[in-house]
Symmetry: C2
Subunit: 149 residues, 2 copies
């Protein structure tokens, strides 16, 4: 991950904005982007070491929410339709995320083993988010009258 | 509320089924329907007396979930499309419920002041649920290709 890539990627920029919007101490404001994003970046080995029993750290579930908020914002920007997320994430580490535009379900995702939520790099995170964003934008393009309903 | 009305109403029957599906002691099996439904029935005066500060009893939030499960089931039966609920209810007593059919948002409801969730009678409860069910069925009839997507 390079500072240049982080600054230029619109998804990463949105994610940083959502994370920093929850800053309660002012510490994240001056913190470099890489440090703010660091909890999202875990190597495959690091992920594998995290046990799957018990409840995942609530901070992880919060990070998942910010990740999908940034995805919702990207779909909204690209499609021109207001996108609203609803996430029901169980404290044991699984859940469902729906992003709606009007009466349309633009994205519907189930998640599990959130204990290990993380990405190899910021680039990988952005690429995976990009696939969900493209799916959401394509669904809206397919049913524009429902997204406007 | 009469026993006859309770037995004949398909919504009330579904609701009783969902409630009894969570019976962990076997006590609700032999309990009369009226008693099982009793926590849903509150007079306007009783509701007004419930304070709105603090968290509502978690049992209330559970009752709201069963209420919308029964609504989802009715929409599914009437429309012939599988309906899936996602409910995000905050412990402070407000929340959002979405019932989806395929890629369609059949019902989208916001709720607040759930501390006072209740109905004057089983008839009123069924009538209010009936409006939500009719709205969901009508939305599916309007966009059948999205409900099947």
């Amino acid at each position: 991950m390079t500072a240049i890539a982080t600054t230029q990627d619109p998804f990463i920029k949105s994610l940083l904005m959502f994370i920093r919007a929850h800053d309660q101490s002012g510490a994240w404001e001056s913190m470099p982007d890489e440090e703010v994003l660091a909890p999202y970046i875990l190597s495959k080995e690091q992920r594998r070491e995290i046990p799957l029993f018990g409840d995942p750290d609530p901070d992880i579930l919060w990070r998942v929410e910010q990740y999908f908020n940034a995805i919702a914002m990207a779909i909204e920007t690209q499609s021109g339709h207001a996108v609203s997320p609803i996430m029901k994430i169980h404290h044991e580490g699984w859940g469902r995320v729906i992003l709606t535009a009007g009466k349309l379900v633009a994205v519907n995702t189930y998640m599990r083993e959130l204990h290990r939520f993380g990405f190899d790099s910021a680039e990988e995170m952005s690429a995976k988010a990009g696939k969900i964003i493209a799916e959401g934008v394509a669904t809206i393009a397919r049913f524009p009258e429902v997204a406007a309903a």
